[in-house]
């Protein structure tokens, strides 16, 4: 049974159909990447899973159980952590405090224990240890991204939803972030990754899906996708198909 499965999910924002009948699945232990241009529906997919947006139709099954009608607070308690687009670090709290709050979905643990776990996070995210008591809004984009991912991991999720971790980051930082993603996967967490940067997104994935204006157009292993003309067309428009053929 897949860890998470979307069956024919459609999402509307008012009149706009952001997702049209999308079906996909992720097995436990996998890293799956969702690719596509802007407005393709990638973030919407993650928002539908984490409960921020309610699907108009279709079903989302997590460990076989339906998530229909559940809110984000319940879904994160079930073990799905969502690191949203734009990082959204709490600006008035320090990096350490942000990370500690990541454990808010777990009950029955003491503040000391959370403190210790947050400290341990800085081993994995060693670049931000010197900044642990710095307020969120003064951190750089890359530092915020690391804080956001660490915060997501504090929930001890079975499934981690990562939305555009490379957005707005310099290439050097991006590669660090993706090294961390590889380590996360090595430690056993399943990851569903959304990326506009197709190359980086595919570099860590076992499988990928490509979305275009709300629909799934192609799926496969990273190499297959990278060499697929339709993938390029999804990003660069129809003529890219023509240029690729040339």
């Amino acid at each position: 049974m897949p860890l998470i499965e979307l069956k024919d999910v459609s999402v509307r924002y008012g009149e706009i159909e952001a997702l049209r009948g999308v079906s996909l699945s992720v097995e436990a232990g996998e890293v799956v990447t969702l690719l596509g241009g802007n407005g393709a529906g990638k973030s919407t997919t993650l928002r539908a899973i984490s409960g921020l947006t309610k699907p108009a139709s279709g079903e989302i099954l997590y460990e076989g159980k339906s998530l229909t009608g559940l809110g984000p607070e319940e879904i994160v308690r079930m073990g799905i952590a969502h690191v949203p687009e734009g990082r959204r670090v709490f600006p008035g709290l320090t990096a350490h405090e942000n990370i500690m709050l990541g454990a808010s979905n777990r009950s029955g643990i003491s503040k000391e224990q959370i403190d210790q776990e947050a400290d341990a996070m800085f081993d994995l995210f060693s670049d931000i240890r010197p900044f642990q008591h710095v307020l969120g809004w003064t951190l750089s984009g890359g530092q915020q991204q690391m804080v956001a991912v660490a915060r997501g991991l504090m929930a001890k999720p079975k499934l981690l939803l990562l939305d555009e971790p490379s957005l707005g980051l310099a290439p050097v930082i991006v590669s660090k972030v993706f090294d961390i993603i590889k380590e996360i996967r090595r430690r056993g967490t399943t990851v569903l990754l959304v990326e506009q940067n197709a190359r980086m997104g595919l570099s860590v994935a076992d499988r990928g899906y490509v979305l275009e204006t709300g629909r799934l157009v192609v799926t496969g292993k990273p190499d297959e996708l990278w060499n697929n003309e339709d993938v390029r067309a999804a990003y660069l428009g129809g003529h890219a198909r023509a240029a690729a053929k040339a």
Partner: protein, 591 residues
């Protein structure tokens, strides 16, 4: 098929008949008021209802039409009342002179309050108006040498011309009728449309060329004027005024009246005022327990806001609309012309070293490009590349950190949005910003009314051009429907019609394809080609590469806030840097 003139003539005739019916109705009411001798108690009720209704119509204008909150209406009412009271009793001036002076004073105060809205809105505005109200009450109570303090002013006389209760009441009814008619007509005037636009979508109003500050100040001034007028009538009618009649509690009463009746219409004002004056009279026991009356007012305000936000009349109008169906007029209209204002230069838009930093974030970092007259130019780049920020700087929503922008030879770098529009910039928004309470036609008329548009501004010409613009985008036969009844894709077309109707020198399209399905995208592509064929210069920002490659002749590509490519469409889209920017690169690989 009728011509534009026929349509206009028909609607003018309908208006005339309506006006005649109205005048007839008022004449009947005036006759009844003037000849019937009501007993004192009934006269007082009618007097209060009529004078309050005038003040409440002030709120209809500022809150209903313009969307600005004013919690000081009782203060303006009081100013008018005291002007008449003090002026006639203490200074022996004629009623009319006092009324006139009072109106000038309240108009000035209203305009002053209105200017405070410039940097503030919402709750700040509420606080400023409450403070004004409280200060005025304090002055009324404490400045005893002038205002007589808590004793108030008594033995105020009616004017000689109407010095019986009946004739005075009739006079007040006439004033109410005239005010009501003017407030009723206001929404369809240029000022009224501007107010409604500010209420519906302030940002878009500015960008379509409306001077937001001036509109709000005018709305406040009119509201204050009507408040003062009502107060002056009140003083003459009741012969006695005192500070506790014009306190904050009374401002709440006015507010409740306008909310209950229906905030956007003078009919609602009359209904709300009438009900809230008559009901307490029927339920007189409410006034016997101090506080109960106002407590119920407070509860009523909450319930109305929760369950009946459009008020009674708003509810009625909704029902009526469902029955009426939509009006479809076809008209033989001239083809839309896009006039080029004097071409100063071949370069319509020149962007030089533009930068926009948000603190440490360099969203736009030194970009330059030129848009040539008559071309279709696209600005593209992956998410976070700075395209939208650039667009917002170009339309004046952000001020640049550095650099300059020239439109048709004029430096517009520091112009406010409505000033840029006046200089020839037209724009549409990614998240469609139409004025949702208006019809497609009204939205486009606002576009035509952009200052600087070299067209005939007579109402019939404005409407004709607006209809032509809607025809041009294929929606001419649905011009009189509310924009909310159109599909998303068609709303996008209306927005384009609104921008194009203003004869812009440069048309800025912000992600016009966002949210459209494939059929709608093809219609959009065809429309853009038709617009380009008329010689209008277009700058388009979009993610849909298929659309961009089909319409754009020239493309500038941004990434990380910098320009990475600029040239003709085909070569740019095949440029390796551009491909990398979109598909991503392996950060570890050497370039």
């Amino acid at each position: 098929m009728s011509s534009m003139i026929d349509i206009y003539r028909a609607s003018a005739q309908r208006k005339q008949r309506g006006l005649l019916a109205y005048i007839a109705l008022i004449a009947v009411l005036v006759y009844v008021a003037a000849t019937t001798t009501f007993d004192g108690y009934v006269t007082n009720i009618l007097m209060q209802a009529v004078t309050y209704a005038v003040a409440v119509m002030g709120l209809t204008v500022v809150l209903g039409l313009c969307g600005q909150i004013n919690l000081a209406q009782a203060a303006f009412f009081g100013l008018g009342a005291y002007a008449v009271g003090l002026g006639t009793v203490d200074y022996g001036l004629s009623y009319w002179i006092c009324m006139g002076l009072g109106l000038i004073v309240v108009f000035a105060f209203g305009a002053f309050l209105g200017t405070s809205t410039i940097r503030l809105g919402g709750h700040y505005l509420a606080m400023v108006t409450i403070s004004f109200q409280q200060i005025l009450t304090l002055v009324m109570i404490n400045w005893i040498p002038v205002t007589h303090g808590p004793d108030g002013v008594s033995r105020i006389l009616k004017p000689n011309l109407f010095n019986t209760p009946q004739s005075y009441l009739a006079f007040c009814v006439v004033v109410l009728a005239v005010v009501g008619y003017l407030v009723w007509q206001l929404p369809s005037t240029k000022l009224g449309r501007a107010m409604r636009a500010v209420r519906d979508n302030e940002l878009a109003a500015g960008v379509t060329g409306i001077d937001i500050q001036r509109t709000k100040v005018t709305a406040f001034a009119i509201c204050a004027l009507l408040g003062g007028l009502g107060g002056g009538l009140f003083a003459g009618g009741f012969s006695y005024v005192s500070p506790d009649q014009f306190s904050f509690a009374e401002s709440i009463v006015f507010l409740t009246m306008v909310l209950l009746g229906g905030v956007a219409s003078p009919i609602g004002a009359v209904i709300g005022t009438g009900l809230l004056i008559l009901i307490p009279e029927w339920l007189r026991f409410l006034k016997s327990i101090p506080g109960l009356y106002l407590a119920i007012y407070g509860l009523a305000v909450i319930l109305i806001v929760l369950f009946m936000p459009d008020g009674i009349w708003g509810f009625v109008v909704q029902q009526f609309k469902k029955l009426r169906g939509s009006l479809r007029l076809s008209a033989e209209l001239p083809e839309l012309t896009l006039v080029q204002t004097q071409a100063h230069a071949d370069d319509v838009l020149v962007v030089n070293n533009l930068a926009k930093h948000f603190g440490g974030l360099k969203a736009v970092d030194d970009i330059s490009f030129v848009v040539k007259r008559g071309s279709v130019h696209a600005l593209i780049g992956p998410n976070g590349s700075g395209k939208t920020t650039t667009l917002n700087v170009l339309s004046g929503l952000y001020t640049p950190t550095a650099g300059a922008v020239q439109l048709d030879g004029q430096d517009i770098t520091h112009f406010a949005p409505h000033e840029r529009t006046a200089s020839g910039l037209g724009r549409t928004f990614q998240n469609i910003r139409l004025f949702r309470s208006m019809t497609a036609l009204e939205n486009v008329i606002i576009g035509v009314e952009r200052p600087g548009n070299p067209v005939d501004h007579a109402p019939i010409a404005l409407e004709g051009r607006a209809r032509s613009a809607l025809n041009f985008v294929g929606l001419g036969d649905r011009a009189d429907e509310l924009v909310t009844s159109f599909s998303y894709g068609h709303q996008r077309l209306i927005e384009i019609a609104r921008a194009v109707a203003g004869n812009p020198t440069l048309l800025l399209l912000d992600e016009p394809a966002a949210g459209l399905n494939s059929t709608e995208k093809m219609e959009l592509r065809d429309l853009l080609k038709r617009i380009a064929a008329k010689g209008l210069t277009i700058l388009i920002i979009d993610h849909d590469m298929t659309l961009v490659s089909e319409v754009a002749e020239h493309i500038t590509v941004l990434n990380f806030g910098r320009r990475i490519a600029d040239g003709d469409a085909v070569s740019v889209l095949n440029h390796p840097d551009v491909v990398t920017a979109y598909l991503g690169s392996d950060a570890n690989a050497a370039h």
